[in-house]
């Protein structure tokens, strides 16, 4: 698959899922169990992405400047700082540690 194939296929799947929510027979997805599973799948995937994006470089686990940056982000979200400010603060933390302190 080329990058364009990935983009188009994933977009069709994501947009198609949205259409399904509006057009599919409602009974299939209703009820507490499907709802709970779908909500938890989102949580699970996002949490796993946080871990991998923070700790993985390819298939190696690495502790580098991303770790303090993400720790700061968690503190800032707890303080209800807006998303964009937190993302910029995390980027700045990692960038400064690498440029000024020589962190990996």
């Amino acid at each position: 698959m080329t990058t364009w194939h990935v983009i188009l296929l994933a977009s069709i799947l994501v947009a198609g899922t949205k259409v399904l929510g509006h057009l599919a027979p409602a009974e299939r997805l209703e009820g507490p169990r499907p709802r709970r599973i779908l909500e938890l799948v989102t949580v699970s995937l996002l949490a796993a992405l946080v871990a991998v994006q923070t700790l993985a470089t390819g298939t190696a686990l690495v502790l580098d400047a991303r770790v303090p940056a993400v720790a700061l982000a968690i503190v800032l979200y707890r303080l209800r700082v807006p998303f964009l400010v937190v993302v910029l603060a995390a980027a700045a933390t990692a960038a400064l540690l690498r440029r000024l302190a020589g962190w990996p």
């Binding site: 990058t3 194939h5 990935v6 983009i7 188009l8 994933a10 977009s11 069709i12 799947l13 994501v14 947009a15 899922t17 949205k18 259409v19 399904l20 929510g21 509006h22 997805l29 209703e30 709970r36 599973i37 909500e39 938890l40 799948v41 989102t42 949580v43 699970s44 995937l45 996002l46 949490a47 796993a48 992405l49 946080v50 991998v52 994006q53 923070t54 700790l55 993985a56 390819g58 298939t59 190696a60 686990l61 940056a69 993400v70 982000a73 968690i74 979200y77 807006p82 998303f83 964009l84 937190v86 993302v87 910029l88 995390a90 980027a91 700045a92 990692a94 960038a95 690498r98 440029r99």
Partner: protein, 234 residues
């Protein structure tokens, strides 16, 4: 087309929709820059925002590509993260009152924010107007800021020296944060993060994230740590 004057409720929904749209559009800049840093070009980055239009899935797709994951893994991550949009569609469609081709348009605009703003309204007219103002506002803003971010990312050079890898991780934390309202959700989040990290050295890039979803399937099916507190807190 003539329409009756807006009620107080509808005007409040419009104001909320616009402010949410501006806030959400602002982080389209970070998506655009991250996407280009992951190796996508400006056109591919813009195509994602136009066609996929679901922030979490877009971040996931470029994250997997940046991490060296296989194409199929990138597609699967984006698709699974997009499944929640189907739930949103089910939630909004009973009162949205659209038919024909408009349903396709409404579906494409059905994302976290448009659903949240509309469900926060009590009046039917306010719900509808809240949905459309938020959805259309974010669609326009998100695509413009994606382009701006992609153009900025293009001239930055080495993404790590700008901390863009840390920014991506922080973005996922931000998408996750509002969903950690029940004990069950926190437990699933922690367990999934541990499982994914533990599997990184053992499996090809991108796969550990997909395997971690098993945690959600098991806990969700059995309702382990069952969530009365969510409803009580809401």
């Amino acid at each position: 087309m003539t329409r009756p004057p807006r009620s107080v409720d509808e005007r409040r929904a419009i104001r909320q929709g616009i402010s949410v749209a501006i806030a959400t559009a602002a982080y389209g800049i970070s998506f655009g820059a991250l996407s280009v840093a992951s190796g996508l070009d400006v056109w591919q980055t813009c195509a994602l925002s136009l066609l996929m239009f679901s922030g979490g899935s877009q971040f996931a797709l470029v994250g997997v590509i940046a991490g060296g994951g296989a194409p199929a893994t990138a597609v699967a991550s984006a698709a699974i993260l997009g499944v929640r949009n189907a739930l949103y569609g089910l939630s909004v469609r009973p009162w949205l009152g659209v038919r024909g081709p408009m349903r396709i348009l409404a579906a494409h605009l059905t994302i976290d924010e448009s659903t949240a703003v509309s469900l926060a309204q009590t009046d039917l007219g306010a719900r509808r107007v809240g949905f459309w103002v938020t959805g259309v506002g974010i669609y326009l803003g998100w695509n413009l800021t994606t382009l701006a971010g992609a153009l900025v990312g293009d001239v930055l050079g080495d993404a790590r020296m700008w901390g863009l890898d840390a920014a991506a991780a922080a973005a996922f934390v931000g998408l996750l944060w509002p969903r950690l309202r029940s004990r069950q959700a926190v437990a699933v989040g922690v367990a999934s993060a541990v499982v994914a990290a533990a599997l990184v050295p053992a499996l090809p890039a991108g796969i550990p994230v997909l395997v971690a979803v098993v945690v959600a399937l098991v806990v969700g099916w059995t309702d382990w740590l069952g969530a009365r507190p969510t409803k009580a807190a809401a």
